[in-house]
Symmetry: C2
Subunit: 101 residues, 2 copies
């Protein structure tokens, strides 16, 4: 587990700006030393984008860096709406830990 | 740069099975110790998926693991097809290094 105990930003369906803001709020406003950005499936690239936007656009002067980046996968249960059958599906996930010096 | 000198698998528009096969070919057939999987933009989640499929489905017994995972971004030049103007765009990227013991 990357970045144990650090505040989490979970990437979902909202526009990317929401997550960029959430990361910045944690780092700047809440003065957190580290933030962990988590995403699953199709949101993985949005997570990478959000971290890169924070790093390139908003954090040029300060020392924000990617401390670690871990990938993994989870089994989730999906119910087929037509047949009503449940089956397990594998979903990839990413956890990016960013830190501020 | 992750996995200096290791054979590369670049994730593009092909179906994910092609890339899973390419990774396996390098590790098993070519007997490479390490492989680096690279992707940009929307293909980032496909890269994570491909690595996770290799790790979970085909490599249960053997010791294939993610050695490192790096994210970054590149500036690329895009030409607007209507106006003909070029502008720079930021594209996120990922490099996942997998190794076999």
């Amino acid at each position: 587990m990357a970045c144990e105990g650090a505040p989490e930003v979970r990437i979902g369906r909202k526009p990317i700006q929401s997550y960029v803001l959430a990361i910045l709020m944690n780092l700047v406003d809440q003065n957190a030393k580290r933030v962990v950005v988590k995403a699953r499936g199709r949101n993985i690239n949005k997570a990478v984008d959000a971290v890169e936007i924070v790093r390139n656009r908003f954090a040029k002067g300060s020392n924000i860096k990617v401390e670690s980046c871990e990938i993994g996968s989870h089994e989730i249960e999906v119910t087929d709406p037509n047949s009503g059958q449940t089956r397990t599906r594998r979903v990839s996930s990413i956890e990016i830990c960013i830190s501020k010096e």
